[in-house]
């Protein structure tokens, strides 16, 4: 008796879940070839650039809600470190990088399934301590003597972009530190150990009132494109496909633009 009641309840729940999946698949018309057998389930592992942390975490929660039975785990970090992990066999399903160069490291190794596509763009912004006590108004102001500025290391995309913008403006800047990723650069300003950092607009927005953003025109010289791709040896290809579709959907774009990204 009890057993059969239990079973009924469970099967009803399963039917409900299937209905949601069917609805969700209907929504993701980009992947119209999906059959019901490809309904995403299980764990999805996404390697994503550190700057995507807030928006992808939000998208991951939506994904889990839209596809019950799935669990999204993220590995956020410097794009290069993530690319190195993937080319060395880390079991990931999706890779979202902060630059086309880092994505190319993975595509060159033949580790992506299909062509990567650009899903967002990011611009640089100067992050200063709240109130901007040093009255930083441009990239040139960062070269003022005595000012402690941190940049990302040239090895990571935000550092390469900052270098491009500084060169475009002819600014000769010696920072106190080349940080290993954009979040560490931002942390130095949030803790007021540095007076300013050149980071992404999205990071300034994510930091809330801990830092103050200063836009500068040269940031147009160094716009980062964010490519996303499914990976060739993805343990969960169905979920990978659905997640990429969600990121590129109008819904995904809305979350990304909320975080400060511009359209691809």
């Amino acid at each position: 008796m009890i057993r059969s009641a239990h079973r009924t309840r469970r099967s009803r729940r399963a039917a409900g879940a299937a209905a949601v999946v069917v609805l969700a698949l209907g929504g993701c018309s980009a992947s119209g070839t999906d059959s019901a057998g490809d309904a995403p389930s299980g764990t999805l592992t996404v390697f994503a650039a550190a700057s995507l942390k807030e928006s992808f975490t939000a998208l991951g929660e939506r994904f889990e809600k839209e596809h019950p039975g799935t669990e999204v785990t993220f590995n956020f970090g410097g794009s290069d470190a993530l690319a190195a992990g993937i080319t060395n066999g880390a079991p990931a399903d999706v890779f979202a990088a902060a630059s086309t160069r880092t994505m190319r490291l993975v595509t060159d190794a033949g580790d992506t399934a299909g062509e990567p596509s650009t899903f967002a763009r990011n611009r640089l912004e100067i992050a200063t301590v709240p109130g901007n006590p040093h009255r930083i108004g441009s990239l040139r102001d960062l070269a003022a003597p005595g000012l402690k500025v941190v940049l990302c290391d040239r090895a990571v995309p935000c550092g390469a972009a900052a270098r491009t913008a500084l060169t475009a403006d002819g600014v000769d800047l010696t920072p106190v530190s080349y940080e290993q990723d954009v979040k560490s650069a931002l942390t130095k300003v949030a803790l007021r150990e540095a007076d300013a950092a050149v980071v992404y607009r999205t990071d300034v927005r994510a930091a809330g009132d801990k830092v103050q953003g200063v836009q500068f025109p040269e940031s147009a010289e160094a716009v980062n494109a964010y490519p996303i791709a499914r990976l060739d040896n993805a343990p969960n290809p169905a979920a990978a496909k659905a997640f990429v579709a969600l990121v590129r959907s109008p819904e995904g774009r809305a979350v990304l633009s909320e975080a400060g990204f511009s359209a691809p």
Partner: protein, 275 residues
Amino acid sequence: MTSGPAAPRTARPRPPGRGVPLALLAPALLGLAFLLVPLLALLVRAPWRSLPEQLTSPEVWQALRLSLFCATAATALSLVVGVPLAWLLARTEFRGRGLVRALVTLPLVLPPVVGGVALLLALGRNGVVGQYLDAWFGISLPFTTAGVVLAETFVAMPFLVISVEGTLRAADPRFEEAAATLGASRFTAFRRVTLPLIAPGVAAGAVLAWARALGEFGATITFAGNFPGRTQTMPLAVYLALQNDPAAAIALSLVLLAVSVAVLAGLRDRWMRTA
């Protein structure tokens, strides 16, 4: 010299029951392999052909010099304050000693990056202590070589303290008591009797601390940042090289490994034979 007839050592009859039991040998060899295989993999995959070119770049030597200097300074600092701390923990009775001992070992379990953030909050420009260093003395530790030394000391000193405290507990306190009955003050007894007695333990602890400091990454990059020649030690250079150029990262790691093996093997022969 003292053994008389020059019989080959292997000819000595083996005492019964002294063979190595398989139940110990097998896991021991497994453990050894587990430690060595990753290092061998590093050697196998090393870019031998481009190695000379990688190693002649001035940045490598700059980072190596800085690493050796900072690790040695951190070890010296650990010795100066760590040995007395170990003595305090081993030889005195006070309330909350167990708690203090646990707190001393906390940096061992703390993720080094968290240690770095903690150091920023304590000694940074706006830190609990650091704001006064800045306001009164104009000293700002983050982003400086001194900051690297402090970050490494924070992470490495517990190794020294634990090692020295263990040796002190094992050392017979009656020697110190005898010195005291002969009129030595407690400090003199520590300096003339205890310290020579525990020297091997101190040496072992110092070597551990030095090795830990040499490989330190998380606390260093968080507290002192990363600037070539000033705060970029070898582990930081390796990490950043790994981002773009894994071959260079392997080459750098090999240099660090070779230098540490040379130093540790050298020290072992000199000081640690009695340990």
